[in-house]
């Protein structure tokens, strides 16, 4: 398929432009992809479907084709198959498997629909139904949007169920009994009449040829043995003894090492370059140009990584000027200007907001501006990829969240079809959305064109990583509310402005695709919250700037939830209402929200008497299908803030692995709190200033609060786990600081106005 066409379809959806454009024929939707495992089968192995293969020696391999970046996805995906195949997680091998269109993610695009999660109107449902197959047609194998379980829940249980059905049928044939008389245990089929046993492996080849009936019956939830429990994670043993192989650990025969220096000014190229000193570094072999859609600069190829780093440092390069606002202040001003003109679009517009504010008396009006900075992902493992371009085949080894997008974009650099690109996904040392990008792979391919078929591993320095991120966009928000005589908000109006993530991703990944309609992520986490307010508008304006912005854990929710939930807190304070009571009132149409609010209030002892210098803050956000209410407790210690406790109640609908979900909520909250505690990417002369953890840090052990997390399962739809803990963490913290100190902070990071215990 042509990349531009694929991309146009893909990103139009991401951008929530649904009408027109996408023609999905029934044929494409129904036609299954070829089983990618057929190509990779070992001696005596049989593939049942893209997720299950079984060897004659009774080795069962389950393919878990999502990026393992810490969220434990391999474990729960494997559990979906194992549950139905009637085997234990100890009985199987778990592999990521090849990058392939067959492993498309249908649920992520569904989440991209411009509707609130609780909106089950005909239009919302019809759009979701329409979007799901598009992921299949495009073959988007992507991990993101907290969508892995939602996507896999049926299809991987079906894969396990189908394989078991085929094995049972093969055994029934062999023994000439009915399938009802066959039982399974410990990877064996048992003839319950005669007591005979056969291993899954001995029947695998015969079973893999058996046709499936039209419908398979999945196990009832009350019969689950693995799902709903929290088995030990399959990836953890290799992560405590150094065996786990991340992208940075790839080692191939005859491999060379390399690094890159890409223009620190976005879109600029080098004006002059002198590599004399670089080539004089012992171990440096070559300096080569790099020219891609994500950036241009130079690669340094060397005998080892250290030599490459030193060589890159020794390159003398003069870069072209920045053609955009060069400082943080100038960038903020460019964004601020948009708040003074009418918004591009609204994704929520209830009642008549303009009318409601037209005659509002001053003392019933609340107005506030909020601001968040650009943020780096700062994955623990710096960006890297390894590529080999040999005999017309391109191989890429990379810690990636999007193998098939790498295939599509890298193919063009060497002039082959995406089918001729093999992507080998490794473990990821953090992802957080950064590793859905393609830059690290494009650079590796550029360098691989210059090594005569030798594989080249390209490792970025931390500084290169931090200064060439795809940042969480800086955003400004203008908020206003009108309060009625009972102290309730009758009108709330929010205007959010910043760069569009979708437009930025599109421009660097698929530049031939023109930008499209409104980007949901600009208003995500604000327009789709379960509040009922008579006049309620959430609008967005996209500001066109060339700073690369991208998907940062929870994307738009990461800041919009703060704007929304701290502003609600401001309303409560202005009207003298309890922040919990106000939320219970405004969200009373949604029992799921009330459930988590009451639960977290109970857990945290909301309303208890607190000594001076201590505060509790509350926030609620519905994101990625999961309703999270969070309370943060802070204490002022020697004029510094210490975060002491975090309580969270999470309504996820169905918890496939409760302990792992709790671990994700904790991780996501720490990710959000870390950002508020001091992270900021700033600009000078068009370049990012911060280069390393001394200037852009995360929370450390001694700053880490105690966590108390509860999972609820009452809602009728399942939500995601990896991101929903991030959005409410920031407003809960800010609201707690207000309650402890009386200081209302509206600019991130909070360190601009207060200090945290270091």
């Amino acid at each position: 398929m042509n990349v531009a066409k694929i991309a146009r379809r893909t990103f139009l959806i991401g951008a929530a432009t649904v009408a027109g454009g996408v023609a999905v024929g029934y044929y494409y939707v129904r036609k299954p992809y070829a089983n990618p495992l057929e190509e990779y089968l070992g001696e005596g192995e049989a593939a049942f479907n893209p997720y299950v293969k079984i060897g004659q020696d009774n080795t069962i391999t389950v393919i878990t084709p999502r990026a393992e970046m810490g969220q434990g996805v391999h474990n729960t995906l494997a559990a979906l198959v194992a549950e139905e195949l009637e085997v234990g997680l100890d009985d199987i091998e778990v592999e990521h498997g090849p990058g392939d269109f067959a492993y498309f993610n249908g649920a992520m695009l569904e989440e991209g629909a411009p509707f609130a999660f609780f909106d089950e109107s005909f239009l919302a449902e019809a759009t979701r139904t329409f979007m799901r197959p598009i992921g299949k047609v495009l073959g988007l194998q992507v991990t993101g949007g907290s969508s892995s379980m939602i996507d896999a829940y049926d299809k991987m249980r079906q894969a396990g169920c189908a394989a078991r059905h085929m094995l049972v049928s093969a055994a029934a044939k062999q023994w000439n009994v009915s399938a009802k008389e066959i039982d399974t245990a410990n990877k064996f089929l048992i003839n319950t009449v005669t007591g005979e046993k056969l291993s899954y492996g001995s029947l695998a080849t015969a079973a893999a040829r058996i046709d499936l009936p039209g419908e398979l019956k999945l196990k009832a939830r009350e019969n689950w043995r693995i799902l709903g429990t929290s088995p030990d994670r399959v990836d953890i043993p290799s992560k405590v003894d150094g065996r786990a192989v991340y992208g940075i650990d790839i080692d191939l025969p005859d491999m060379v090492h390399a690094t890159v220096r890409i223009s620190p000014r976005f879109g600029a190229e080098s004006v002059s370059m002198d590599d004399t000193a670089a080539l004089a570094v012992k171990g440096v072999e070559k300096v080569v140009p790099v020219q891609t859609t994500t950036g241009s600069g130079y690669g340094v190829i060397a005998e080892n990584t250290w030599a490459a780093f030193k060589g890159a440092e020794a390159l003398e390069i003069e870069w072209g000027e920045a053609t955009y606002p060069k400082s943080s202040d100038a960038l903020y001003s460019a964004i601020a200007k948009r708040l003074d003109s009418p918004a591009d679009f609204s994704m929520r517009d209830d009642g008549d907001v303009d009318q409601a504010f037209a005659d509002a008396p001053r003392d019933k009006l609340l107005e506030a501006d909020y601001r968040v900075p650009y943020l780096a992902h700062a994955c623990m493992e710096p960006m890297n990829a390894t590529a080999r371009w040999k005999d017309g085949v391109l191989d890429i080894w990379a810690p990636t969240q999007a193998p098939t997008v790498l295939q599509m974009t890298c193919a063009g650099l060497v002039g082959v079809n995406s089918e001729d690109v093999r992507v080998h996904a490794t473990m990821l040392g953090g992802g957080f959305g950064r590793r859905g990008e393609v830059d690290f792979a494009l650079y590796a391919v550029e360098l691989a064109k210059q090594t005569n078929g030798r594989p080249v591993k390209v490792t970025w320095t931390r500084e290169e990583d931090m200064r060439h991120d795809t940042y969480r966009p800086a955003m400004l928000a203008r908020m206003r509310a009108r309060i009625d005589n009972d102290g309730m908000p009758v009108a709330v109006d929010m205007h959010l402005a910043g760069q569009s993530v979708i437009a930025s991703v599109l421009a660097r990944t698929f530049p031939s695709v023109p930008p499209s309609g409104p980007d949901k992520s600009l208003v995500d986490g604000a327009f789709n919250q379960p509040y009922s307010i008579d006049n309620y508008r959430v609008s967005g304006s996209a500001v066109d700037l060339p700073v690369p912005v991208g998907f940062w854990r929870s994307v738009g929710n990461s800041c919009n939830a703060w704007f929304h939930e701290s502003f609600i807190d401001e309303i409560a304070h202005m009207t003298g209402k309890d922040p919990l009571a106000l939320r219970l009132e405004l969200m009373k149409a949604h029992p799921a929200a009330l459930g988590v609010l009451r639960k977290v209030a109970d857990m945290s002892g909301w309303g208890r008497e607190l000594p001076a210098g201590r505060g509790l803050g509350l926030a609620h956000t519905l994101s990625f299908g999961t309703w999270v209410a969070m309370v943060v407790e802070v204490a002022v210690v020697d004029e510094e803030i210490r975060i002491e406790n975090v309580w969270a109640a999470c309504e996820i609908g169905r918890a496939l692995d409760p302990e792992n979900i709790k671990a994700q909520v904790m991780s996501a909250a720490i990710f959000g709190l870390s950002s508020a505690m001091g992270q900021e990417i700033t600009f000078e002369d068009g370049e990012v200033v911060e280069g390393n953890f001394d200037e852009f840090d995360g929370m450390r052990m001694r700053q880490c609060p105690a966590f108390h997390i509860e999972i609820l399962e009452t809602y009728h739809k399942m939500g995601g786990a990896g991101e929903p803990g991030t959005p409410p963490s920031v407003p809960a913290l800010v609201n707690a600081i207000f309650s402890a100190t009386g200081k209302r902070i509206r600019t991130m990071p909070l360190t601009s106005e207060i200090d945290f215990v270091a």
């Binding site: 405590v240 150094g242 990584t305 953890f693 450390r700």
Partner: protein, 151 residues
């Protein structure tokens, strides 16, 4: 140049200025020790030299003056180190990238203070974890103490 690494003499190349981290990873080929920052700010590269925890990105290989132990050398496949066992019991790692360094720091802490207080843990465990596994690291250190007492 040769160094004793995990009990064996190993060639570490001929550039005395190369940080121990890169000699381990690219020349010796033991890659459990990770690169995170290169400026002593994250601790992903923590190894033991003569039993003491050091950030290997900061030590030129030419000035290493004792035997080096990496994550690969603290236990064996048959018998994991008690800290590694505790890490599994508490299901600490998420992405896992920082965990070699965290485990090396924890082993060094427990060698020095067999029953550390929370304050001791805060003081010794300064490594960055972007996945936010700190509460589990703390629990695992305490678990290692109790596993040690049982043993």
């Amino acid at each position: 140049m040769e160094l004793e690494i995990n009990g064996q003499m190993q060639n570490v190349g001929d550039d005395p200025d190369m940080p121990l981290l890169w000699a381990l990873r690219d020349i010796v080929g033991v890659k459990g020790t990770k690169f995170g920052c290169g400026i002593a700010a994250c601790g992903a590269c923590t190894v033991h030299v003569d039993g003491y925890p050091v950030r290997s990105c900061q030590i030129p290989v030419g000035s290493v003056d004792g035997p080096v132990t990496t994550i690969e050398g603290v236990g064996s496949a048959e018998q994991l180190h008690i800290v590694q066992q505790a890490w599994i019991r508490e299901q600490v790692p998420q992405c896992g990238y920082c965990q070699s360094g965290q485990i090396m720091a924890a082993i060094a802490l427990l060698d020095e203070i067999p029953n550390p207080t929370d304050q001791d843990i805060d003081d010794a465990m300064t490594n960055l974890c972007r996945c936010g596994t700190y509460p589990k690291i703390r629990a695992a250190i305490k678990r290692a103490v109790s596993l040690g007492q049982e043993a």
